[in-house]
């Protein structure tokens, strides 16, 4: 399919996805609508993670804190009388500033330190959220004032999912996308070819924080109540699992991953313990046997079923062209 045709098809598909989302949000009843909302909010946050973890292969464990940052900052600003749109934008901008600080320290380092550093950053943010009770009300949670009408929140949420995926699509296809994937493939070689790896990792982390923060704003507005337990590093693990299960760097990974990680346990009404055991086991199995994730695995099966010759080297991650499916 020629390039322009392909782009149009993807955009059209995303638009349809948005419409389906809107339909679900407006027609589902109570509990199911809430689950749908959660899955969609997580899909937006996971899209951000898909940039740094999915494309660049850098294990960011702080995404849940960016999620929380957007939620708390925008809600606090609202509480203090700021205009809703400004509160939302500042929630994102200030979270991105935090990401810059974290990135300046940890994005210059290699993967193992990055994992530890982001994990610890997330833990510190959680500590702050829990302990600064004067500001955040601590573990008991903080009620959130309405920024907009419920109807507008629903529309924003329904639009944001396809919009986030569309932005990811553009990034993945751009030179930045090439650079991110080169870091995943072989960071030293990428550096020798002239890729500014430290800079790119920082940018990727900041981009991921923007998605996370916006998701946080929407989460706060949709739920009306936020608490630190929604943004702990365990939640960060689950975001990681969502990306890994869906398939690193694939376009639809955030939607599929979030559905499996959030939607299925809620729908089946499993307790948190059982669902996380099941997710952990599933994640381990997928990581060890189908590194392309469920999307990659399904693609492999479909290819074999269609009788297409296997590529000589099995790819365990989306290649630059496959990242677009």
């Amino acid at each position: 399919m020629p390039a322009a045709g392909r782009h149009l098809a993807v955009m059209a598909g995303l638009a349809v996805l948005g419409l389906i989302g809107y339909r679900l949000l407006t027609t589902l009843e109570g509990g199911k609508a809430h689950i749908c909302m959660l899955v969609m909010v997580w899909a937006i946050a996971a899209t951000g993670l898909n940039v740094i973890l999915g494309l660049a292969g850098y294990p960011s464990l702080v995404q849940a804190s960016f999620f929380g940052g957007g939620a708390y900052i925008s809600s606090l600003l609202l509480q203090h009388g700021w205009q809703p749109a400004v509160a939302a934008v500042l929630g994102i901008v200030l979270t991105m500033a935090g990401a810059v600080l974290i990135g300046l320290v940890f994005a210059r380092t290699r993967g193992q330190y990055f994992a530890i550093g982001t994990l610890f950053s997330g833990a510190v943010v959680t500590l702050v959220l829990i302990n600064e009770k004067g500001v955040t009300r601590g573990q008991q949670g903080m009620p959130v004032g309405l920024a907009w009408s419920t109807d507008l929140t629903i529309k924003l949420l329904a639009v944001s999912v396809p919009a986030s995926l569309a932005i990811f699509y553009v990034i993945a296809r751009s030179h930045i996308g090439d650079r991110l994937r080169s870091i995943r493939e072989d960071e030293d070689l990428a550096a020798h070819l002239g890729v500014p790896t430290a800079q790119i990792k920082l940018i990727a982390l900041v981009i991921s924080s923007a998605f996370g923060a916006w998701a946080g704003v929407l989460q706060a507005q949709s739920d009306g109540l936020i608490s630190p337990s929604q943004f702990t590093f365990v939640k960060g693990f689950l975001l990681f699992v969502a990306i890994g299960l869906g398939g690193y760097g694939r376009l639809l990974t955030p939607v599929i991953g979030s559905f499996i990680v959030i939607g299925v346990p809620e729908l089946l009404d499993l307790g948190p313990g059982i669902s996380q055991i099941a997710l952990g086991v599933l994640f381990l199995v997928v990581t060890l046997t189908v590194p392309g994730g469920l999307i990659g695995g399904a693609e492999g099966v479909a290819r074999r079923a269609a009788g297409v010759i296997r590529r000589p080297t099995g790819s365990d991650v989306a290649t630059p062209s496959e990242a677009l499916t």
Binding site: V105, Q112, I116, A123, D188, L189, F233, G280
Partner: protein
């Protein structure tokens, strides 16, 4: 201030035991083993379970330490071994294992804290103006004994020397003809036993929950970074230093943010040396 220092030694001993286990595995696996927290938790619950069933403390403790070893080797056998040549997948494996282990503990024993009784818990030791509870003193003793014992094994036995070599530089060790898989499994066993020791020693000072090891693990990672990947001596020294730093921070600034001081240490180190204190094993292109 002496009190804070003594508390720092207690904390540091805990960090040292956990960090040594982490650094041995880190050296062979090149990835942070988050699952180590899960091993500590399961070892602690194993000890608790034995104790609840009426076993004397010594027996329960031995079971706990052994459980640590068994679980750790199991993680190598069923999970880590299969990503040995693909270190990029290891953080994912570590996360998956941690999720499974922590939530298994949650399902089996619930989320409320459990207390582990010990024969020495009523003891309070006083010297030079400071006091130290029996359980904390016991941890320091357990840590010291196991680390000295480990040190002897690593220095005096050929098996131990091989493990040290692999932890320091596994490609070089491979060239020396050391059978890598064996050393790898052995490193996990040792790390698991140390996790068991730390669980048995730590549990009575606090309480047993599925999340008891989370903050300790984070600080232990900082110790590994500071002390050098694969360096046992570095982990011991770094552990004690960080324990004292966090203890002072907790006392003079804020107890709730104790582990945040470990974070500050991590930030300082990585800003000064993004390659870590001793550099990484990254393959060079030219």
């Amino acid at each position: 201030m002496g009190q804070v220092l003594v508390n720092g030694v207690f904390l540091g001993s805990l960090f040292a035991v956990v960090a040594v286990g982490l650094t041995l595995v880190y050296g062979v696996m090149e990835v942070p083993n988050f699952a180590h927290a899960g091993i500590i938790v399961l070892a602690a619950y194993a000890t608790f379970e034995m104790s609840e069933r009426g076993a004397p403390f010594v027996v329960a403790a031995i079971v706990g330490v052994a459980a640590g070893g068994v679980v750790s080797v199991a993680t190598e056998l069923f999970a880590y071994r299969w990503v040995r040549n693909n270190p990029a997948a290891a953080p994912a494996v570590a996360l998956g294992l941690l999720l499974v282990m922590q939530n298994t503990a949650l399902r089996a024993w619930g989320g409320e804290g459990k207390a582990l009784d010990t024969p020495y818990q009523g003891v309070l030791v006083r010297f030079g103006g400071v006091s130290l509870s029996g359980v904390k003193l016991a941890l320091i003793i357990f840590a010291a004994v196991s680390l000295v014992g480990l040190g002897l094994v690593l220095a005096r036995t050929s098996l131990g020397r091989a493990v040290r070599a692999v932890a320091q530089d596994r490609e070089a060790a491979a060239m020396l003809g050391i059978p890598i898989q064996q050393q790898y499994t052995l490193a996990f066993l040792i790390a698991g036993l140390l996790a068991g020791v730390s669980a048995v020693a730590y549990a009575p000072t606090f309480q047993i929950t599925p999340y008891m090891a989370d903050e300790v693990l984070l600080s232990a990672f900082v110790v590994v970074v500071v002390g050098g990947l694969g360096s046992v001596g570095g982990a011991v020294v770094g552990g004690l230093v960080l324990g004292v730093v966090e203890s002072f921070g907790a006392y003079y600034i804020s107890a709730a943010y104790q582990s945040a001081f470990g974070f500050v240490a991590l930030v300082v180190i990585l800003v000064a040396r993004p390659g870590g204190l001793l550099g990484t094993n990254a393959r060079r292109v030219a």
